[in-house]
Amino acid sequence: MTMPQLDRQSACPRCAEPLEDGDRYCGACGADLTALVRRSSGPAATAVDDADEDRPTLPVNGARARARASLPVAPRPGAPAPPEPPAPPVPSVGSAAASAGAAPRTDPRAAVRSEGGGRGGRAGRGAAAAPNGIPSAPPPEGPYGHGSGNGLGDVPSGRSGPEPLGPRCVACGTGTVDDDGYCEHCGHKQPRERDHMECALETVAAASDRGLRHHRNEDYFTVCQATTPAGTPAAIAVVCDGVSSATRPDEASAAAARAAGDALGDSVARGTHPRKAMHDALVTASEAVNALAEDTPEDPARNAPACTIVSALCAGGLLTVGWVGDSRAYWVPDDHTIPAVRLTEDDSWAAQMVAAGLMDEAEAHADARAHAITGWLGADAYELDPHTASYQPEEAGVVVVCTDGLWNYAESAREMAAAVPHDALSRPLHSAQHLVGYALDGGGHDNVTVAVVPFPMPSGRAGSA
């Protein structure tokens, strides 16, 4: 590969200051090197050409991880797809007819670490955009290594902010970082764990990024695996997008994603019918978001915490989606000659206009009001109307579960299919990273979160799907 690699850069592309091995930001001008590399590497679509190259995404990361003892990173940079080394946390949990979701937050993370396929060490901002496995420098943020969407406020990551960032500000390189996560010299906010999150399990992977125009990531995701009482494995992906005009959208999305993921995991383990399980999970997520409004009677001028939700559950040949708001799920067949389809209908102004026949899709989406959502999770939602749908795909493919940060750049099913790498079925994490990169290359105007669920699931030890 001849793509520029960060580690080989000897000088800052912006100010030509000599760089040291592993610098993420230029010490002189503070430029974000990963971003500059990404921008100079051209459109991400080229990745498709290299799609079958099963290169590890993070060779450098692994090496680095060993170098820094504090990184709780799986050093093995293996690809996510192949059967895993004998590290069994997920199956073992699953075999107990429980699910990863049943023991929330810790299990998926444990799975990631032990599998190694989930690149424990998250790539830095923008690194995910490296389309064909460009090794990206590891972030200085060691503890982000658990990589799941469960970063916020969780136990190991609870030692918030500064210390893993090292002693100096990423922007000015001069100041130390205070307890609130700001540089004591120039005041710049230091990167947060939620700025970029990734997680890969055996049967599902997801990536999320702050984007290029927003100051924080208000999206959140949960991915988990579960096993039905019959022993059938199930993959679960939940993606939520916090409503920016409301208070604490970041907390809303995290609460909803966790609650829905946990609820789905529990339901699957109990053998609940998927549609029912999905419906219940959306209601549970809604209650979790409502609960946020109760414990903070704040700012009457702003809306109660709110978010959208979209979730996919793949189990036993059945693909079930559920959603509220304008986050979407697409079905992208592995055989790209078969047309892809969108599985969800937005709760949005644009969708209502189209449904009412007042505008065509292009017109509606061009309107300034297009993104006004008409359904959401939150205490001030008029009436919760959880949508669910089930499908029985006849061919193999992947479900792309995403926020509008992605689909703004690939609105139609056809565009989305074109953006999905050919090897998505075998490399879900890579595909999720690629799609995040696709959105960032398109402008990254919003937070981007993508989960990729292969269907049928990669056959694992737990038996064939």
Binding site: C172, T174, R213, H215, A301
Partner: protein, 451 residues
């Protein structure tokens, strides 16, 4: 049963109100910082038990000392009720003193004279000393000039003799500071600034508003007019109660701002407008302290305006860190009482960047209100009727819009209001001096945002 574990020091809390969103290229960050101290006055102003070790360590018995400075210049005899009322008011203030508080009374003319207890000392308040002080007040007679700087210097030396945390003065004058140069008063204020706080009152209508408000500003106290000498006792009692409620002195508002930024201004905006920008003392790199004086159970608002280097959309920075600090005896690292963060977030969301925080808008209006009144009255004095009408009209409009009813009422004694909402007014042909001076003295009083 007393709660011995409870500290007598007030707890400070800092709340920041701001719109942190800036458009691309935006540099000015505005925030209202509300500082509230609670728990300090929970004794209801009663003397604290001697058994309290923290308290005993603080000031060796009581924590406060007060000096009352009474104008005894010749003009106090015109009318003679003025001197009698001043005497009564001082007696009332002395009656309000809590047991254990150190105090003294100074008679002010073109020089300062100790009335009680004398000998360069302070008396400790108890039933006997209060009675003795009242007796000594009988000796107060009017005669002589006015040199307020000398009064303040004497008060300073008296207060300096006490080992206490809270040092406070109460100053009453009825005339202009005619018997010393303005520079001498200014020098006295500079030397006393930070050493004690002082409330200043003007009685009658022959005194200079800017002198009295200047003294109160410099010494971080309140200023007011007592146009009717008969109202002095009530006012003095209230002032002394306020002084007795103070628990912590020398609190500074500390502002950290990032490299490359500039503090455009910092002012107290509630309960009254008080410009503090120029009173900064550097306390380290990018850190400055602004004096706030002493605190009891109370809440004050500050408007902070910082200019930061512009950053790209999606960036976030800390524009200022606001903390309340208390110097530790012996010059060690000051104790941080509480802090708040002022942020700057650049976004391309027009809705977010164009909205003005209601608190910031409100206090921007209140500051403009105070300024409009002062300019309007100055113009009126200098004969610029058109200018005065415009300024005072604007003041009426602002007072009306913000619900500052007290100020609106004072304005209506100086102008005839035609349309308050539009700010249409006519200057009154005849305005009582007392009304004009009351408006000028109280022009900086603000109201808080209606919640």
């Amino acid at each position: 049963m007393a709660n011995f574990s409870k500290s007598n020091a007030p707890r400070f809390s800092v709340d920041v109100y701001q719109n942190e969103y800036l458009p691309e290229g935006g540099q000015e960050v505005n925030a209202i910082v509300t500082v509230t101290s609670t728990g300090g006055g929970t004794t209801g102003g009663m003397p604290l038990p001697v058994t309290d070790p923290a308290r005993a360590a603080l000031g060796g018995g009581s924590g406060a000392a007060v000096v009352i400075m009474v104008d005894c210049s010749g003009s106090m005899d015109y009318p003679p009720t003025k001197m009698r009322n001043a005497r009564d008011a001082t007696a009332a203030a002395i009656d309000t003193l809590h047991d254990g508080v150190a105090f003294a009374v100074v008679a002010g003319t073109h020089q300062a004279r100790e009335v009680f207890p004398g000998g360069g000392r302070l008396a400790v308040a108890d039933d006997m000393t209060r009675a003795q002080a009242r007796e000594a007040l009988r000796g107060l007679t009017a005669g002589g000039g006015t040199a307020i700087g000398t009064w303040l210097r004497l008060a300073d030396s008296l207060l300096g003799s006490a080992d206490v945390a809270i040092r406070h003065g109460i100053l009453l004058t009825d005339g202009r500071n005619e018997h010393e140069e303005p520079d001498q008063l200014r020098a006295s204020l500079e030397s006393c600034s930070g050493r004690f706080t002082c409330d200043a009152r003007g009685v009658g209508t022959d005194w200079e508003v800017k002198e009295v408000t200047g003294i109160a500003s410099a010494l971080l106290g309140t200023a007011d007019i007592v146009a009717d000498p008969g109202a002095l006792s009530a006012d003095f009692t209230q002032m002394m109660e306020g002084a007795m409620g103070k628990e912590v002195a020398d609190v500074a508002l500390r502002l950290w701002t990032p490299q490359g930024s500039r503090v455009k201004f910092l002012k107290q905006v509630a309960p009254s407008v008080e410009e503090l920008t120029s009173r900064r003392t550097d306390a380290g790199p990018r850190i400055g302290d602004y004096p706030t004086g002493s605190w009891g159970d109370e809440s004050r608002d500050y408007h902070v305006c910082v200019e930061v280097p512009a950053a790209g959309v999606g960036q976030e920075m800390l524009a200022a860190r606001v903390s309340l600090v208390l110097p530790t005896p012996g010059g060690g690292t000051p104790q941080t009482l509480s802090q708040g963060l002022i942020r700057a977030v650049w976004t391309d969301d027009m809705v977010a960047t164009t909205s003005i925080n209601p608190q910031v808008a409100h206090y921007t209006g209140q500051a403009e209100l105070a300024q409009a009144i002062q300019l309007g009255l100055d113009m009126r004095k200098s004969g610029d009727e058109a200018g005065a009408t415009a300024k005072l009209g604007r003041a009426v409009q602002l007072a009306n819009a913000s619900g500052n009813a007290d100020t609106a009422k004072l304005l209506s004694k100086v102008v005839d209001v035609v349309d308050a909402a539009a700010g249409t007014v006519r200057l009154k042909a005849k305005v009582a001096d007392a009304d004009e001076m009351t408006l000028e003295t109280r022009s900086t009083k603000t109201v808080r945002v209606k919640k």
